[in-house]
């Protein structure tokens, strides 16, 4: 079983990202379980969502405390909250950021780090506003390329089925982000 945590801010689509990723993984025959951090959400406040995936049934019904992978939808969260809390040693972090992975030396020393400027991509595809682009679909494309856990095609198919607003733009953003994700030292990508 593998566990994932998504960090975002209220309104960026972290919860939807977790659901879309679950749907995409389910298409590939995985057992999945996705849920938000239970509580009250407010626009702009830090939020988290979780995902479990497994080849067999998933029995655990408690919170995820030691994730294998992280997705961070907003670069400002890296400073604002302890995003790596509980992250397993050698775990992966995908950050939505203008910086290269080398721009996060402290993280890169302990974890596998990749970045993608999903904000710019989302904005160019007309997703969200200039001050608050909605990056969730774009970053899932990047996650597919970076993690290899799920194919880009499954991500796009999940978007096509479950995102009714600006579906084509969301798919295009995911595809562009898959090609734009940058890993440290040219680590192999799966796209």
């Amino acid at each position: 079983m593998r566990e994932l945590r998504i960090h975002g801010r209220g309104g960026q689509g972290a919860v939807v990202a977790s659901k879309l990723l679950a749907a995409a993984l389910f298409r590939e025959g995985k057992s999945v379980q996705a849920f938000p951090a239970f509580g009250v959400e407010r626009r702009g406040a830090p939020v988290t969502a979780f995902l479990r995936l497994s080849d067999g049934p998933i029995l655990l019904r408690c919170e995820v405390t030691h994730p294998d992978d992280l997705i961070v939808l907003d670069p400002t969260l890296v400073q604002a909250v302890d995003v790596t809390a509980g992250l397993k040693p050698g775990g992966s972090i995908l950050i939505c950021s203008e910086r290269d992975p080398a721009g996060y030396p402290e993280l890169a020393a302990r974890f596998r780090v990749a970045t993608v400027d999903a904000g710019d991509i989302a904005q160019r595809h007309g997703l969200g506003s200039r001050t608050q682009p909605i990056v969730n679909t774009a970053i899932l494309g990047a996650f597919a390329a970076f993690s290899g856990l799920v194919s880009l095609e499954s991500i796009c198919a999940a978007i096509a089925e479950d995102v009714s607003y600006r579906t084509e733009a969301n798919i295009a953003a995911a595809r562009e982000a898959a090609a734009a994700v940058k890993s440290l030292n040219g680590e192999a990508l799966h796209a």
């Binding site: 849920f35 239970f38 019904r61 408690c62």
Partner: protein, 390 residues
């Protein structure tokens, strides 16, 4: 068709498949998604039901009662404070022998204000005369929703299906959604045995003096007793058609077990994980899941637990001044066993107000019961709190 959906929407899909005819509800976290989805289904024609907006949960249940007396299939959903506000009407639905189906999202009761899960809201409605069914995963939620209508209408009693806040209500997982045609065969349109009829007007809920009230209650009790067998039949038919059965209670790896956990709701899932782990290490542990709380499957639980040395009941609830409520019910149920076959019973209070119940929490319960068993000790207290700050 398989879809990844949240537990709340599994309820909505179930209600749509059951072709409920009148839905009346008032929104409350964490139930809102259920009625949000249902109102959209009604609005866009997927579900040709009458959606009655009301100003409170009390009115929601009252509307369902009125519609149900008129002979149609009715549904509502609520949670916590909303369920408590309904309390008076819950008696009315049950006493009126009306097959209303309701989903309750288990949410702790205020104060302190809390939107997270525990079972005190539904369990405090224990004596209203509703059948109560607790679910473990989203698939079970959808299946139980449809089954509830069949059960309710067969015995003329209301059914409350219960699911944990967030751990089910807001958690997405794959659910197999049956075909409408198959469900239609399983659950035809409601045929009320007794309903409002303008050509034969009668007073429903009429004055019932001392010389008949008791008999009415006796009939209600007999219907409750019937409900267990009817539930089995409903599940058997569902299982034949759709290949899934859950059982009023479900023993899991209890063969030769020395300690058996008794669970309900989503804690069951995590407990299965712990049981599997311990079994892999050679520990003789198992669990019994209680799905049906009312009517209480007393005889079955006796059979399942007779001769087990130690039973550890995990209660995500509390009857203040006494103990966990499932533990309390079990103590009473097991009392009639001959002393040699009567298990020792540890009642653990865990996970109140949404506190996470992890494998470690359950492991600690098991370890404490094992130690007590090894020492031949009776429980220190009837309420053993696990996972609390010192």
């Amino acid at each position: 068709m398989k879809k990844v959906i949240v537990g709340n929407h599994a309820v909505s899909w179930g209600v749509q498949l059951a072709r409920a005819e009148v839905i009346s509800a008032y929104p409350i976290t964490p139930q809102t998604q259920i009625v949000e989805e249902l109102s959209e289904m009604c609005a866009d024609g997927r579900l040709p039901a009458r959606f009655i907006k009301v100003e409170s949960e009390h009115s929601a249940m009252a509307a369902c009662i009125g519609a149900s007396v008129a002979g149609v299939r009715t549904f509502t959903a609520t949670s916590s404070q909303g369920l408590l506000l309904m309390h008076e009407m819950l008696h009315y639905a049950a006493g009126g022998r009306l097959p209303v189906v309701m989903a309750d999202i288990n949410r702790a009761v205020a104060p302190g204000w809390n939107i997270w899960t525990d079972q005190n809201d539904s369990l405090s409605q224990r004596d209203t005369g509703w059948i109560q069914l607790y679910c473990e995963n989203n698939q079970e939620v959808l299946d139980t929703t449809v089954q509830s209508f069949k059960l309710a209408e067969a015995v003329d009693l209301p059914v409350m299906l219960v699911l944990d806040a967030f751990y089910l209500s807001h958690t997405s997982e794959p659910v197999d959604i049956p075909d409408q045609a198959d469900v239609d065969t399983f659950l035809p349109k409601r045929e009320a045995r007794l309903k409002l009829d303008v050509n034969d007007p009668r007073a429903f809920g009429a004055l019932s003096p001392p010389d008949m009230y008791m008999e009415l209650r006796l009939r209600q009790q007999e219907a409750m007793e019937q409900a267990l067998e009817v539930f089995d039949a409903v599940e058997a038919e569902w299982g034949e058609r759709f290949g899934r059965r859950y059982g009023a209670i479900e023993p899991y790896r209890t063969e030769d077990a020395e300690i058996v956990l008794v669970t309900s709701g989503t804690v069951t899932s995590t407990a299965r994980y712990v049981v599997d782990e311990r079994r892999a290490r050679g520990e003789k542990v198992g669990l019994v899941k209680i799905k049906m709380f009312r009517p209480f499957p007393t005889a079955r639980l006796r059979r399942a637990l007779a001769g087990i040395p130690r039973v550890a009941v995990l209660d995500r609830n509390l009857s203040p001044g006494r103990s966990g409520i499932f533990a309390e019910e079990l103590r009473a149920a097991l009392y009639d066993l001959e002393p040699a076959r009567r298990p020792g019973l540890d009642g653990y209070v865990i996970g109140l107000g949404g506190r996470d119940v992890t494998p470690d929490t359950i492991g600690e319960c098991l370890d404490r019961s094992r130690a007590a068993l090894a020492a031949g000790r009776a429980p220190e207290r009837e309420d053993l709190w696990v996972g609390v700050k010192p």
